[in-house]
C-alpha cells in the first residue's frame, strides 16, 4: 500500500515537470509527514550525510576532467587519428565517426557534447563527400553514447554508489563491452555503407598515422591514468578522478593549449554547476531510498517475485523493458538513482552478479540516449544537422537495432562483462 502511494506521488510530481530532485524530496517529505512518525529533522540531516561519502566525490572530479578536454581541438585530434586508421575502408568517414566518438566520449564523459563536437566537424564532411545526411546523423547520434560504457563513466559511478559496488571493478567490466559495442556499431555502419556503396577516403601512410596518434594520445592517456591508477592500487577511484582532473587541466592548458589560464574559472564554474545538479539529485535519491528501505519495499517486491515463480531470465527481461521505457523519458543519472535501490536487492536475491547487473543497466542507459521522445543525443544531433527530431529518430534505427541485439548479448552472457575484472582479480 505504502509502495503504491509513494510511486503514484512520485510519478505525479515528476510528470508535472518539476526537477527530478525536487519531486523525490517532496515525495519523501509528504510521505513521512502524512503516513509515519519519523521526525522530520532526520530528513535535513540526511540531506547532508547522504553525500558524505568519499566515493561520490569522484563525480565532480570526473566532470571537471571531462570538461577540460571537451573542446573542439581535442575532437579534431581524435577525428584525425580515427580517419587515418579506418578512413580507407568502405564508408570510411562513417567508421571514423564511430571510432572518434568512442575516443572523445571516453575522455569527455558527456554523450551530448560528443555528438556536438564530433558531429559538427564530421557531419558536414560526410555530406560534402556524398554520404546521405541521414546516415551521418544515425552514426553519430548512436556512437555518441559509447562514453557511458567506456571508463571513466559517471553513470557507472552513480550505480556503484547507490549499490555499494566497486567502482574499479565496474569500470574494468565496461572495457570489453565498450569495445564490443563499438565493433557492433562499426559493423552496422560498414554494412549500411556497403549496401549504399558509400565512398572511402584515400589510405594514410603509417607515418601519418603515427603523427595523428601522437597528437591524440595525450587526451587518451587520461583513461590510462584512471584505469592504471585504480588497478595498480596507486589511487582510490576518487583520487584517480582527482588526478585525472589535474592531468586534463595540464594537457588542455600546457600541451594542447586549447584553453588559456583565463578560461579555467569558466570551466570550473560549469563543472561545479553540472556536478551540483547531479549531487543534488543524489542527496534526494538517498532520502528516497531511505524511505523505500524503511517501508521494506524492495524486500516486498523480491518476495512477491520469488513466489510468483519469475526466474532470473524473466526478471532481466522485465528490468530491460522497464529501463528502456524510463530511458525514453528521463536522463540516465536520475533513472539509476531511482531504480537501483529497488532493483538491486531483487537481483541479488536471484543470484545475479552485481557487476554484470551494473553493466546491463549502463547499456540500457546508452540506448535511452537515442530513443524518442527524450533521447538527449537525438536533440543535439537534430540541432547539429538542422534536421527534424522525427527524421533523426528514423535515421538511427539500424544502430538502435544493433544496440538492442547487443543488449541481449550483455544480458544473457554475463561473462562478457565479468571476464576482465575477474581475470585481473578485481572481483
Amino acid at each position: 500500500m505504502s509502495a503504491l502511494i509513494i510511486f503514484v506521488l512520485l510519478t505525479f510530481l515528476m510528470l508535472s515537470g518539476m526537477p527530478v530532485s525536487i519531486s523525490l524530496g517532496l515525495t519523501v517529505l509528504t510521505f513521512l509527514f502524512a503516513f509515519t512518525s519519523t521526525p522530520l529533522e532526520a530528513v535535513a540531516l540526511k540531506l547532508f550525510t547522504g553525500i558524505e561519502k568519499f566515493e561520490i566525490m569522484a563525480i565532480p572530479f570526473f566532470i571537471l576532467a571531462g570538461n577540460f578536454l571537451t573542446h573542439g581541438g581535442v575532437a579534431k585530434r581524435m577525428i584525425h587519428f580515427a580517419t587515418s586508421m579506418v578512413g580507407h575502408l568502405r564508408g570510411g568517414l562513417g567508421l571514423s565517426s564511430v571510432f572518434a566518438c568512442a575516443l572523445f566520449a571516453a575522455v569527455s564523459g558527456s554523450s551530448p557534447a560528443t555528438v556536438v563536437a564530433i558531429g559538427s566537424i564530421l557531419l558536414p564532411a560526410m555530406v560534402r563527400a556524398g554520404y546521405p545526411k541521414k546516415f551521418g546523423v544515425g552514426v553519430i547520434a548512436s556512437s555518441g553514447g559509447l562514453g557511458i560504457l567506456i571508463p571513466p563513466s559517471i553513470v557507472m559511478v552513480m550505480y556503484a554508489v547507490s549499490t555499494n559496488s566497486s567502482i574499479g571493478a565496474l569500470f574494468m567490466a565496461g572495457v570489453v563491452p565498450g569495445l564490443l559495442l563499438a565493433l557492433f556499431l562499426g559493423f552496422t555502419t560498414w554494412y549500411v555503407a556497403k549496401k549504399g556503396n558509400y565512398p572511402r577516403e584515400k589510405p594514410s601512410s603509417w607515418a601519418e598515422r603515427w603523427d595523428a596518434f601522437r597528437k591524440a594520445v595525450w587526451g587518451l592517456l587520461l583513461i590510462l591514468v584512471v584505469m592504471g591508477g585504480i588497478y595498480s592500487g596507486l589511487f582510490t577511484p576518487t583520487e584517480a578522478a582527482a588526478m585525472s582532473a589535474v592531468y586534463a587541466f595540464f594537457i588542455a592548458v600546457f600541451v594542447y593549449k586549447d584553453i588559456g589560464f583565463a578560461d579555467v574559472p569558466k570551466v570550473l564554474l560549469n563543472s561545479a554547476n553540472m556536478s551540483a545538479m547531479l549531487l543534488y539529485i543524489i542527496t534526494n535519491a538517498v532520502l528516497f531510498s531511505f524511505i523505500l528501505t524503511n517501508e521494506q519495499i524492495p524486500q516486498g517486491i523480491a518476495e512477491w517475485l520469488t513466489h510468483s515463480g519469475v526466474g532470473m531470465i524473466g526478471f532481466l527481461v522485465a528490468v530491460n523493458l522497464l529501463l528502456l521505457v524510463m530511458g525514453s523519458f528521463m536522463e540516465p543519472s536520475s533513472i539509476i538513482l531511482i531504480t537501483a535501490p529497488i532493483l538491486f536487492p531483487i537481483a541479488m536475491k536471484l543470484g545475479i552478479d552485481p557487476i554484470h547487473f551494473g553493466v546491463m543497466i549502463t547499456v540500457n542507459m546508452e540506448i535511452g540516449m537515442i530513443t524518442p521522445p527524450v533521447g538527449l543525443n537525438l536533440y543535439v544531433a537534430s540541432g547539429v544537422a538542422k534536421m527534424g527530431l522525427t527524421d533523426c529518430s528514423k535515421a538511427v534505427w539500424p544502430w538502435l537495432l544493433t544496440m538492442l541485439v547487443f543488449l541481449m548479448v550483455i544480458t544473457y552472457v554475463p561473462v562478457v562483462s565479468t571476464w576482465l575484472p575477474k581475470t585481473l582479480g578485481m572481483m
Partner: protein, 238 residues
C-alpha cells in the same frame, strides 16, 4: 543582487578548484614521502595531511548546496517535461509556476529544518558563549573526526544553501510571470568548434526542461525541421 550572484559563482568555483588541488597534493605527498631524499623526506613525513579527505568532502557538500542554488538560476536541473511541453502555452505556464513553487516550498522546509538542527546541535551554544550570555548548560554539539571542526558549522551548508535555493526558485518564478522566460541550460555545449554549428547546437530545446513561452521565437529551426513530417514529433512540434 549582483554581488550575491558573483559571490555564489565565486564560492563554487573556488570550492571545486581547491578540492581538486587538495586531493592532488595529498596524493603527491603520500608518494613523495616515500622517496628517500635526505632532509626533505623527514619534513614530508612530519606533514600530516590525513584531514584532506574530510576537507574535500566538506568542500564538495558546500559546493553541492550552493551549486544547486546557482543551478536554479542557470536552469540546469533536469525534469520530465515531455507531458507539459505538449500542452498549450497557458496551461504549461501554470505547471511551470506550480513546479517552481514546489521547489521553493521544498527547499524552504529543508532550510527551516536544517536551521533548527544546526541551532540545537551547537550553534546556540557557540553563539551564546561568544556573546558572553550564559550558555554553559546548552549542548555544545559534536565535532568532525579529523579536522575537529564543530559539526554545526559544517552542517550550516544545509540552511544557508537551501534558503538561497528557495530564494532562487522564487526569483525565477517572478521573472517567469513577468517576462514568460525561463533560464535555459545548453546541454552539449562545446567550445572551440565552428561558430555556426555551436550556435545551433546550443539552441536545442529538449524535454528534460520545460519550454518557456519564448520558446517558439528562440527555436525557429526546430519548427522548420518538424514541419516536414506528419506531426509525430512529440518534442518540438507545437
Amino acid at each position: 543582487m549582483k554581488y550575491l550572484d558573483h559571490l555564489e559563482e565565486w564560492i563554487i568555483t573556488f570550492l571545486i578548484g581547491a578540492a581538486t588541488l587538495i586531493i592532488f597534493v595529498a596524493v603527491m605527498h603520500r608518494y613523495a614521502a616515500g622517496l628517500p631524499i635526505p632532509g626533505v623526506q623527514d619534513w614530508l613525513i612530519a606533514l600530516n595531511l590525513s584531514w584532506a579527505q574530510e576537507l574535500c568532502i566538506i568542500m564538495f557538500v558546500w559546493m553541492a548546496k550552493f551549486g544547486a542554488a546557482y543551478g536554479v538560476r542557470t536552469g540546469i536541473h533536469v525534469g520530465v517535461d515531455v507531458l507539459i511541453n505538449s500542452l498549450s502555452d497557458s496551461i504549461r505556464a501554470r505547471f511551470i509556476v506550480f513546479g517552481l513553487l514546489a521547489g521553493a516550498f521544498f527547499t524552504g522546509i529543508i532550510g527551516a529544518l536544517g536551521a533548527h538542527f544546526v541551532w540545537e546541535n551547537g550553534a546556540h551554544y557557540a553563539i551564546f558563549n561568544t556573546l558572553g550570555i550564559a550558555g554553559k548548560e546548552l549542548y555544545a554539539g559534536p565535532t568532525t573526526p579529523d579536522l575537529e571542526w564543530p559539526t554545526w558549522m559544517v552542517y550550516s551548508a544545509i540552511p544557508l544553501g537551501s534558503s538561497l535555493m528557495c530564494f532562487r526558485f522564487l526569483q525565477v518564478m517572478v521573472s517567469f510571470i513577468r517576462t514568460g522566460e525561463l533560464p535555459h541550460h545548453e546541454h552539449g555545449h562545446v567550445d572551440g568548434i565552428e561558430a555556426e554549428a555551436a550556435v545551433v547546437a546550443g539552441n536545442v530545446a529538449d524535454d528534460l526542461h520545460a519550454h518557456d513561452l519564448k520558446h517558439d521565437t528562440r527555436h525557429p529551426e526546430s519548427k522548420v525541421g518538424a514541419g516536414g513530417t506528419a506531426g509525430g514529433d512529440k518534442g518540438d512540434a507545437k
